[in-house]
Each structure stands twice: as structure tokens, then as C-alpha cells.
């Protein structure tokens, strides 16, 4: 059976489960939005500051919740469910990509909604929508790949859970940096190409790492 078909099977499953539990849509998303709403209250409202930190806030929230979204199901998955999936004979690499794809789509929605909130709240005017979209897609992609990879490591045992932040933190830095810098660049109408490239490289790296580690990771469970 084609790799693509296998990927879509997993993606469909995850999106269906999400539709039923509504975890992302009803828990993570509101939390993120509310966080953005509360920031100004917390740091004292002062227009220039807010406009300055607005985009940064947005990316921090996206980063944090992005990872939460990507590792969400694995924590819930039971041994029986893992056995079931394993015995369908699906290629672990396809499972990895499928899970990442589902998280990616959810994250994209998350980014869009929060993006609107940010624009409304911090009156940051988005310019150069092309780059903006590219950055959104790359950030969502990177985070979902990263989170799914981390989740795979978690799934290998309780003790491993500790590794997740340690793994996520360093790898999310280039993404965060790329995203913020790229947007700043377009604000100052400088070229954001280098930053977009940085993000692209990170995403590709993560994809490769995830696909290659998928089988070894599954074996250890």
C-alpha cells in the first residue's frame, strides 16, 4: 500500500479523534487566545511597548502550545492502542509523517486565529503576506514535526518524558528566531530570505530525523 495512503490514514484518524474530543479547538486554542488577551493586563498597558512585543508574544504562545498540541495524543495512547497500530503493519515513518501532518493542520488553524487576535490587540500591521504565510507554514511544520518526534521519544517510557523539554527547547530556538526575525525583516522591508531559508533547513532536518528515527523508536516500545 502506498506510503501516501498510509500517511493519510493516520492523519484522518487524528483529525477525527480531535473532532470528537475537540481538545485543540476548545482547550488549547482558547487558552492561547486568552493568554494573548491577558498579556497587556499583566505588563501594564502602554502602546509602544505592546506593539513592540506583540509579535514576540504571538510566537511564544504558538511555540508553547504548538508543542503541547503535537505531543497531546501520545500521552493518552494506551499500550493496547499502540499494539493495534503496530499490527496494522503501517510503516512507522508513515505514522510519523501522518501524525505530524495532522498536528500541522491544527497548528495552522491555531496560528491563524491567534494571528488575528494579535493584529487586533497589538495593532501590528502585517505586510508582505507572501512571506508571512511562508513563515506561518514553516513554523507550524517545524513545531509539529518536532513535537511528534518528541512524543515518539516519550512513548518509549516514563523516564523519557524528562527529555522532551530538553529536546524541544534547543530545536525550537532556530524556528522562533527565524520566525521573529523574518517578520521583523519584512517590517523594516529588509530581505527576510535568509531567515526563511534557516527555517526551511530546520524543518527539513526535523523531517529527516523523524523519518529515520521512526523505526528505531518503535522497536524500543
Amino acid at each position: 500500500m502506498s506510503f501516501f495512503h498510509q500517511v493519510m490514514t493516520i492523519t484522518r484518524r487524528d483529525l477525527l479523534r480531535e473532532r470528537r474530543s475537540g481538545e485543540v479547538l476548545w482547550v488549547t486554542l482558547p487558552f492561547g487566545a486568552i493568554a494573548l488577551l491577558l498579556v497587556p493586563l499583566a505588563i501594564g498597558t502602554d502602546a509602544p511597548t505592546l506593539t513592540k512585543i506583540g509579535p514576540g508574544m504571538f510566537w511564544i504562545i504558538v511555540m508553547l502550545f504548538g508543542v503541547l498540541i503535537a505531543i497531546r495524543q501520545t500521552n493518552a495512547e494506551t499500550t493496547a492502542q499502540r499494539d493495534l497500530v503496530a499490527l496494522t503493519g503501517l510503516d512507522p515513518a508513515a505514522i510519523y509523517v501522518g501524525k505530524s501532518l495532522a498536528s500541522f493542520l491544527l497548528l495552522l488553524v491555531f496560528e491563524l486565529v491567534l494571528g488575528i487576535v494579535t493584529i487586533a490587540l497589538y495593532d501590528v500591521a502585517p505586510s508582505d503576506l507572501g512571506v508571512l504565510l511562508a513563515v506561518f507554514v514553516l513554523a507550524a511544520g517545524g513545531l509539529s514535526l518536532l513535537g511528534t518526534l518528541a512524543a515518539g521519544i516519550v512513548a518509549t517510557g516514563q523516564s523519557a518524558t524528562a527529555l522532551v523539554p530538553l529536546l524541544v527547547a534547543p530545536l525550537s530556538v532556530p524556528l522562533l528566531l527565524g520566525a521573529t526575525q523574518a517578520l521583523e525583516a519584512i517590517q523594516l522591508s529588509r530581505s527576510s530570505l535568509s531567515w526563511v531559508l534557516l527555517m526551511t533547513i530546520v524543518v527539513l532536518l526535523l523531517a529527516v530525523a523523524g523519518v529515520l528515527s521512526a523505526r528505531p523508536l518503535q522497536e524500543t516500545t
Binding site: 495512503h5 479523534r17 493496547a80 492502542q81 499490527l87 496494522t88 523505526r215 524500543t220
Partner: protein, 210 residues
């Protein structure tokens, strides 16, 4: 034809030895019953054969391949494993659960509904799994077996939580598998039922197969 061939296989969890030097051969047509006390290692043995449990020594051959190699991905679809806990997603309906499996195996989704009908759950196909009784969930697991018709059945306490009708269903499934030239390993505490079903039985004691 030999489907399973274990030669002095051991399984450990850290320092704890769960299975030690287990040797077992299962050929097509065999229905092997496995008995043993709680905690003896039956489920572990079953998961070992299902290529779900890595071994810590000895030589395994499952459906002709060595499960410690990546080849296992090529044979897993021929294995039908039903464990203690149901491998179902509680927030999905029974039908959706089976459709996912059908999808993953590239089978026509219509088969899923059919299989549910065959295990007497057509009325509950649209019901959320976590709204279904324990036995209904077990039945749904066997619906998966009905749908996939695997060659090698690995059933962990197949009769528990099932009513009389469903028990006949399970026994029927085993017989059909054997008729198709497959084999079955049945772990159970219900000796009478399994004795009447198995072609041969083993005892497992403190991780060693007698």
C-alpha cells in the same frame, strides 16, 4: 508449515526475568493452548510472538522472519492479536474504529460495517466506544479478526467478558482459521473450553514453558 518457532527465547524487563528459555513451535493447523498462574508470563509470550515484545536472547522465527529485524513490518498484517485491554479509541464509534483498521490495511471500508454485523453489533455500530459495554468492546475486537482473517491468531483469554453467543463466535473463528491453514495460540484460565478447542496445550510456570 511452521508459523512460529521459538528457540530458548528469554524476555527481561531490566533485571527482572519474565520469560526464560522458552521453546515453542506452532505449525499451520495447530491450536496451542497456554495455561499458567497469574503473572507466569502468558501475555508476555503472546506479545513476543506478535512481534510486539522484544526478546532478550534466543532465536525467534515468526511467519518465517526474525522479528528483531525490520522484516516484521512485512508479516504483522498476517497476525491477529486480541489482548486483555481492547485496542479501540474510546472517543470514536465502533464503526469508525474498524474503518480505521480497514483503511490502514487498504481494505474496502464497507467490510467494517459487515464485520460488525457478523459479531452482532450492527445495532451499535454508530455508538461511541466508551458508551459500549466491556463485552461489546471485546466483540468489536473480534470483528477486526473477522474482517482481516489473519493467518496466526493470538488470543489472550479469548472467552472472558463474552456471553455464550460470542463465545461460539470466537470458537468458530478459531476453527475457520485452522481450516484455512492458519494456526492459533490461546492463552486462558478456562481450561475446559480451551482443551476442547486446542490441538495441544502447554503449561507456563514462572516464565518457563513446561
Amino acid at each position: 508449515m511452521t508459523l512460529v518457532d521459538l528457540d530458548k527465547v528469554s524476555v527481561r524487563a531490566g533485571a527482572v526475568r519474565i520469560l526464560q528459555d522458552v521453546s515453542l513451535t506452532v505449525s499451520s493447523g495447530d491450536a496451542v493452548g497456554i495455561f499458567g498462574a497469574n503473572g507466569a508470563g502468558k501475555t508476555t509470550l503472546l506479545r513476543l510472538i506478535a512481534t510486539l515484545q522484544p526478546s532478550a536472547g534466543g532465536a525467534c522465527s515468526i511467519l518465517g522472519i526474525d522479528p528483531s529485524t525490520a522484516e516484521r513490518y512485512d508479516v504483522r498484517h498476517r497476525i491477529g492479536y486480541v489482548g486483555h485491554a481492547p485496542g479501540l479509541y474510546p472517543e470514536l464509534t465502533l464503526l469508525e474504529n474498524l474503518e480505521f483498521v480497514a483503511d490502514a490495511r487498504g481494505i474496502d471500508k464497507a467490510m467494517a460495517g459487515e464485520a460488525l454485523g457478523l459479531v452482532g453489533l450492527s445495532g451499535a455500530a454508530g455508538r461511541r466506544t466508551d458508551h459500549c459495554s466491556h463485552g461489546m468492546q471485546r466483540r468489536a475486537e473480534f470483528a477486526r479478526i473477522v474482517m482481516l482473517e489473519p493467518e496466526l491468531l493470538l488470543l489472550d483469554e479469548p472467552h472472558s467478558a463474552l456471553d455464550a453467543d460470542a463465545i461460539d463466535l470466537v470458537d468458530g473463528l478459531v476453527h475457520r482459521t485452522l481450516d484455512r491453514g492458519g494456526a492459533a495460540v490461546l492463552v486462558s484460565h478456562d481450561r475446559d473450553r480451551v482443551n476442547s478447542l486446542a490441538t495441544r496445550t502447554h503449561e507456563i510456570k514462572n516464565g518457563t514453558l513446561l
